[in-house]
């Protein structure tokens, strides 16, 4: 019961901070644009294509839309969600608030887990809204009910959860939401893509074995949202997934970051 109260408070905070209103506004805009595009297409492009290449053509078009949608959501989710959740921990740690929280019969581990699960649930619901609606529109218009697209809700939530565990850890240690945002965006938009394409980028410039080993080492221990995004796309387009290693290692990273957060939080004086 107490845990649910904590979980719910995370929701209330997100709503109160109005950042999620922004998310929903943009998501709604995207949905409307989709609706509009589909309507235009169904009149000209899609109808033509249906006639020329039949059902297969529609399928291809739907999948292309879906892949575009995943990439938009990825950008949107990552940026918006990180900004909104990055203040959860620092604001909780404010003097006069954390004291009272810790004087209640909740364990420190419960507090961290509630913040984590609250954030993850929130993003899950946001994605459910965005992707769910787009899926409904696409499917009803095209008559092609492509379920793998819905799986992307889970994959994107996972990517978020992995980075969010890091945001929590940074927030606990630095008590700064700005630092959490900067570091996580840097990781997601610079470090992870570079590591993902390390063979095409760094390795083509540096052939030193030691450097390559170090780079590989970082690739394997750091979370891999870029890889997970690729896996999501592969699943939608029906390409075989090369390896699920990025998923497992990201989940491991998440568990490690959460454990480290709980460990640190348990020892800290407030």
């Amino acid at each position: 019961m107490i845990f649910l109260t904590l979980l719910f408070s995370t929701f209330r905070e997100a709503i109160a901070k109005k950042i999620f209103i922004g998310f929903f506004a943009i998501a709604t805009l995207i949905i409307l644009v989709f609706l509009f595009l589909i309507n235009v297409d169904s009149i000209e492009g899609m109808v033509n294509m249906m006639e020329s290449s039949g059902e297969e053509g529609v399928r291809q078009l739907v999948i292309q839309f879906e892949v575009a949608m995943i990439n938009i959501s990825y950008l949107l989710v990552i940026t918006f969600c990180f900004i909104s959740v990055s203040s959860f921990i620092p604001s909780m740690l404010e003097k006069g608030n954390i004291d009272l929280l810790l004087s209640k019969p909740v364990t420190r581990a419960q507090i961290i887990l509630a913040k984590f699960l609250g954030g993850v649930l929130l993003i899950f619901l946001s994605l459910l809204y965005l992707i769910g609606f787009v899926w409904l529109i696409l499917s009803s218009k095209s008559g092609f009910w492509h379920v793998p697209f819905l799986y992307s809700i889970l994959w994107l939530t996972l990517s978020f959860a992995v980075i969010y565990s890091l945001i929590i850890f940074i927030g606990l240690i630095s008590q700064s939401s700005i630092l959490s945002i900067i570091l996580s965006l840097f990781l997601v938009f610079i470090v992870c893509p570079v590591l993902y394409f390390r063979e095409e980028t760094i390795f083509s410039l540096v052939s030193n074995n030691v450097v390559q080993f170090i780079i590989n080492f970082f690739y394997y221990i750091l979370p891999k949202p870029t890889d997970i995004n690729q896996i999501t796309t592969d699943i939608i387009t029906g390409n075989p997934v090369k390896s699920y290693m990025p998923v497992f290692s990201s989940v491991l990273f998440m568990l490690a970051a959460l454990s480290a957060s709980i460990f640190y939080f348990k020892k800290k004086d407030y």
Partner: protein
């Protein structure tokens, strides 16, 4: 029975992060709070009062020492269900209304939704905040926040309640109301632990006090005992003549204040009566004898002033 007992409690903070320099916020602090009393912890700024409360509530961890609350070790969280706390300069999430604050913290204390509702009504009335219950607390004044904080601390009907500067920012009438509330709680058997600078107020409501300076306990005891230790008697009489004054000065070592008033200092009752006999023999009427009472403030300033 003791509700709180500590033995040789010490707390070191590091002065800066990554520095070896230490601040000793509490040093070998041993004390107890008895069931049903109002206990006041006094001390100048930075004495370690807040630190002590935070340690007792498991918010900060002691460097060494033992703590028992309700006769149990505090490593088990369950005692917190029976404890209330009003932090110093508390900061509730400011997007909540007064009612929502009580709901949130009440639930966290383990109350059911029904109980929270019932108790919120009761305590909001008690602290005179009923008409503000639906207002977001970012619109509250400091005193209003303090009243809400007090309601929050009482909501789970704690057996032991910690108040860090409960009357901070509250107007004189509000203070009187808070004192009445605390006295009421005491009548109901709640043990109250409070931190305060406001010595005159502590004197009015506390049964026992401890005085803390730079982390060290320098005095503790019943308020009555601490404030009544003076052996100074103030005499008011009809006019004293020259010879009597001389005798008072020389034989009784009195301090003459005026023709009608003098001070006599002695811890011997015999001496006191000798003095009274002498005055009466000289046909001087005694209009009043009062044993001077030290206020807590006098004592506090004497003790702390001499240490610094």
């Amino acid at each position: 029975m003791n509700v709180v007992t500590t033995k040789n409690l010490s707390k070191e903070y590091s002065a800066k992060s990554f520095s070896k320099e230490k601040i000793l916020a509490l040093s070998n602090f041993s004390f107890e709070v008895q069931s049903g009393e109002i206990f006041g912890l006094l001390g100048p700024n930075g004495a370690g009062k807040t630190t002590l409360i935070k340690i007792l509530l498991g918010i900060t961890f002691p460097t060494s020492g033992d703590i028992k609350i309700f006769d149990k070790d505090i490593s088990n969280q369950s005692y917190k269900k029976k404890v209330g706390y009003l932090p110093e300069s508390h900061k509730f999430p400011n997007y909540l209304t007064g009612e929502q604050v009580l709901h949130f913290f009440g639930k966290l204390s383990g109350l059911s939704s029904n109980d929270v509702k019932k108790k919120s009504d009761e305590y909001l009335k008690l602290v005179d905040m009923e008409k503000w219950r639906k207002t977001k607390i970012k619109k509250y004044s400091k005193g209003m926040l303090q009243r809400l904080g007090l309601a929050q601390a009482m909501l789970n009907q704690p057996e032991l309640i910690f108040l860090d500067e409960p009357t901070d920012g509250v107007d004189p009438i509000g203070r009187k109301e808070i004192r009445d509330i605390l006295n009421n709680l005491k009548q109901q058997g709640t043990t109250i632990f409070l931190n305060s600078h406001l010595l005159s107020e502590v004197e009015l409501i506390c049964d026992r006090v401890a005085i803390l300076n730079k982390g060290v306990l320098i005095k503790s005891g019943r308020v009555d005992d601490i404030t009544a230790t003076s052996d100074n008697y103030i005499f008011t009489t009809t006019d004293l003549d020259e010879s009597v004054i001389n005798k008072l000065l020389v034989s009784f070592k009195c301090t003459i204040k005026s023709k009608n008033e003098f001070y006599f200092n002695s811890d011997s009752v015999e001496e006191l009566n000798k003095l009274i006999d002498f005055i009466r023999q000289n046909n001087i009427m005694i209009q009043g004898i009062a044993r001077e009472k030290n206020t807590l403030e006098d004592m506090f300033i004497n003790l702390i002033g001499s240490k610094n």
